[in-house]
């Protein structure tokens, strides 16, 4: 019976594209080989560690994507994080109906791993297919976009001591894509707000605040203008707040938050808001700490989570070993924390932030002259020392 189980597991492994990132055998395949008494010249896992090996789907992406994803893998290996990577290529392929579709491999992989790390993707223009982000979001109900914005020591901006988190509803709101031309020259765009989605993101916000020792959750809205839609969102937030009295809850208008954010961002902690406001505010906060090149981001869903870098593919420096892997690395750290592997995440984050603070080995965008590999090696060195 055990043998049958192992055979079944082995066949499942074989059905997945064999594009291993590390040259490391999957866990179950290893066990099968052992049970078949093959010469064990394969690497042994110490399953005596605190966590079993977990598989994560890696989407390297385009442009600088492959370089920075390799950097993240190297750093994870240096830290000994119990992660194996399953690389998936998401270039759209032409289906039998003539339309471009995403390859089935990505859905299969994510269905199994339920955890993804995504590099930057080039947006093909005029290829006639739905965007990957939209497809992934729908497939795995990724309802909350989380972006922690913390000032990075060693990367100076006019704003110091920023330490806030924006949590944005990711599925509806202004981005529902429901638009009509009513008559020629008159267009209506529908903003959809539902109680289910609002409550869900509010509950996640309070859970996040509790899990990460944050003291305040602020709902951002424009209920004075959009009283029914933002009013409903606010009502859900208030209801969830009343069940989470250990966390302080405040509510502010969007324009007031923007005004105060650029004057004194230290007054904000966790912000929760609908889709459009979240898009704008999260980018605003990224601008406060230094831009998208150093900002992590995570999409949390009911059926899994995908963490990603939100910067572009930088085609002008792709392949030249000049890229900065910080954003993808910090997103990967977020992922480790989400997977309850926080101690590895803390070590990696500390090494990365120490490297930037010391300022000796920095990539070009951070003000230095080092290559991506040198920067990565320095972080690995710090982890292992």
């Amino acid at each position: 019976m055990a043998a049958r189980a192992i055979r079944t597991a082995f066949s499942q492994i074989n059905s997945v594209p064999k594009s291993h990132g590390q040259g490391v055998l999957p866990f179950l395949q290893e066990r099968f080989l052992e049970s078949q008494s093959c010469p064990s010249n394969t690497r042994q896992y110490s399953s005596a560690g605190s966590a079993s090996i977990q598989k994560v789907t890696m989407i390297p992406g385009d442009g600088i994507g492959p370089e920075i994803s390799q950097a993240v893998k190297d750093i994870f290996e240096a830290a000994g994080a119990p992660i194996i990577w399953e690389d998936v290529d998401v270039t759209p392929i032409k289906g039998p109906d003539g339309n471009f579709h995403l390859p089935q491999a990505i859905f299969d992989s994510m269905a199994e791993t339920k955890m993804g790390l995504k590099g930057p993707l080039a947006t093909p223009i005029g290829k006639g297919h739905k965007s990957l982000n939209l497809a992934l979001r729908k497939a795995f109900s990724l309802y909350a976009n989380v972006r922690p914005c913390k000032s990075i020591e060693g990367y100076k901006t006019p704003y110091d001591e920023v330490d806030l988190v924006t949590i944005r509803e990711n599925t509806e709101g202004e981005y529902s894509g429901i638009e009509h031309t009513i008559v020629d020259g008159v267009v209506q765009s529908i903003k959809l707000i539902t109680e289910t989605a609002s409550r869900r993101v509010a509950e996640y916000a309070f859970k996040f605040a509790r899990d990460n020792n944050r003291s305040t959750v602020t709902a951002v809205h424009k209920a004075n203008i959009m009283r029914m839609s933002d009013g409903l969102f606010l009502k859900c937030c208030r209801e969830v707040a009343s069940k989470n009295k250990d966390i302080k809850f405040t509510e502010h208008y969007l324009d007031t938050v923007c005004l105060n954010m650029v004057q004194d961002p230290t007054q904000f902690d966790v912000l929760v808001m609908p889709n459009l406001y979240g898009d704008i505010l999260s980018d605003l906060c990224a601008g406060l700490i230094g831009g998208l090149g150093v900002t992590p981001s995570g999409n949390i869903g009911e059926d899994g989570a995908i963490f990603e870098s939100v910067h572009g593919t930088a085609p002008d420096i792709a392949g030249q070993d000049k890229a900065n892997p910080t954003a993808l690395l910090l997103s990967a750290v977020m992922m480790l924390r989400h997977m309850q592997l926080g101690e590895y995440g803390d070590r990696i984050e500390k090494a990365a932030l120490d490297t930037i603070r010391e300022g000796e080995v920095l990539t070009g965008d951070l003000g230095g002259e080092a290559t991506c590999s040198a920067f990565t090696k320095e972080i690995c060195r710090r982890i292992q020392s």
Binding site: H180, I193, N224, D255, V262, D279, I280, L284
Partner: protein, 391 residues
């Protein structure tokens, strides 16, 4: 002849004329004058203009009282007609009276009216005023102030925002319980109108660049129509550089490099957001004036439309924004001398640390600041009086 005059007036209806101001505000010397059609709407009796005063909520009443005081000392030929409208005057008759007053006088100075959004019956009076008076353009001019503590000191951005449609259409319904739809309406006519206003403003004011802000990658039809209208209008103004930027990128750029922006042209909600960001960058809500202009009427208020509820009665509110708005109003009505006089005094006074209110990092009270401005104005008016008597 009458038909020709009418046609001429209609063609110039929305084209704000601009004359060099007698005051220097940084290195920009321009203000906004009323158009011919707007002048016809302004009530002027015996050389004095009558202006509607809507005190609103929060710190509005106290600051507007100070504004009237300063107008008296400066000798501004303005009579105020105070209409009662605030969050407690919910009867429709108050709104109608306010509208009638503005239609009669042509110009208003306004404090912000709070919206009690938890009350289902309460309609936003600010939105109602703007849409009923068809004040389709909102202009907020954010310039760095001398002597004021801010992260950047070289900002000069004019934010021109469509003021009547978009997300502020107030068209919402609950299809089933727990599912709400809110309509954002974009029309080609209004987009073209605001775009033309912005380019005209830029052309007459020597501004080099107009940037349209949108999210047309996601809202392809609505913001796509806005962007397309702006592009079409930009072809008529070959000397002005036209570019566009997505709203989230624009927010990020505003906090990292705001100096790159010149004139921003935006639909309603994005205008609200970027005006707030820009106002925060130059020193805060208390400093920045704003104006709402239509074909016939103009309403002047604070740039970020805050009521300052938490500051009410404490005598610490910053009167600068409302004072600068009232100076813009004086320029609009053609009283350039007085407008320049008050504006100069206000700017000179707030540049001094001992006259900065807590929102600017200082310790002064509102009355301290007002007294300092009055003290600055008095010698100037006495000089001009002596010159008038001797000359």
């Amino acid at each position: 002849m009458a038909a020709l005059t009418r046609r001429l007036l209609c063609n110039t209806a929305w084209r704000q004329t601009v004359v060099p101001s007698l005051s220097s505000f940084g290195n920009r010397n321009y203000t906004i004058n009323a158009t011919e059609q707007q002048v016809l709407s302004c009530a002027k009796y015996g050389g004095r203009h009558c202006v509607t005063l809507m005190t609103g909520d929060g710190v509005g009443p106290e600051i507007l009282t100070h504004v009237q005081e300063i107008f008296r000392y400066a000798g501004a030929p303005i009579d105020f007609e105070t209409v009662e409208i605030n969050s407690s005057t919910t009867d429709a008759a108050y709104l109608e009276a306010a509208l009638l007053s503005v239609q009669r006088n042509g110009v208003a100075l306004k404090g912000n009216i709070e919206t009690k959004f938890d009350d289902a019956e309460f309609r936003s009076m600010n939105v109602a005023l703007r849409s009923r008076l068809d004040l389709w353009s909102n202009i907020v001019w954010c310039r760095s102030f001398k002597g004021v503590n801010a992260r950047y000191d070289d900002i000069d951005i004019v934010l021109i925002r469509e003021n009547t449609e978009g997300e502020y259409s107030s068209l919402e319904h609950e299809s089933v319980t727990g599912v709400v739809e809110s309509l954002k309406i974009i029309t080609a006519e209004k987009c073209e109108r605001i775009a033309r206003y912005a380019f005209d403003f830029a052309a007459r004011n020597g501004r080099k660049k107009v940037t349209a802000i949108h999210k047309a990658n996601i809202m392809k039809l609505a913001d796509g129509l806005f962007l397309e209208s702006c592009r079409k209008v930009s072809e008529d103004y070959a000397d002005i550089k036209f570019s566009d930027m997505i709203i989230d990128n624009a927010s990020m750029q505003m906090v990292s490099r705001p100096q790159q922006f010149d004139v921003l042209l935006m639909p309603n909600l994005y205008g609200n957001i970027l005006s707030s960001i820009a106002a925060g960058l130059v020193g805060g809500a208390g400093l920045v004036p704003g104006m709402n202009v239509g074909a016939k009427y103009a309403v002047f208020e604070s740039g970020t439309r805050n009521s300052g509820r938490s500051l009410k009665g404490k005598n610490i509110a910053n009167p600068t924004g409302m004072l600068l708005a009232s100076c813009d109003m004086l320029d609009y009505l053609g009283h350039h001398n007085v407008g320049a006089l008050i504006r100069e005094s206000v700017l000179d006074v707030i540049a001094q640390p001992q006259h900065q209110t807590p929102d600017m990092g200082g310790q002064a009270t509102t009355t301290d600041v007002i007294q300092a401005i009055i003290d600055d104005i008095k010698p100037k008016t006495q000089t001009s009086l002596q010159e008038a008597q001797s000359g």
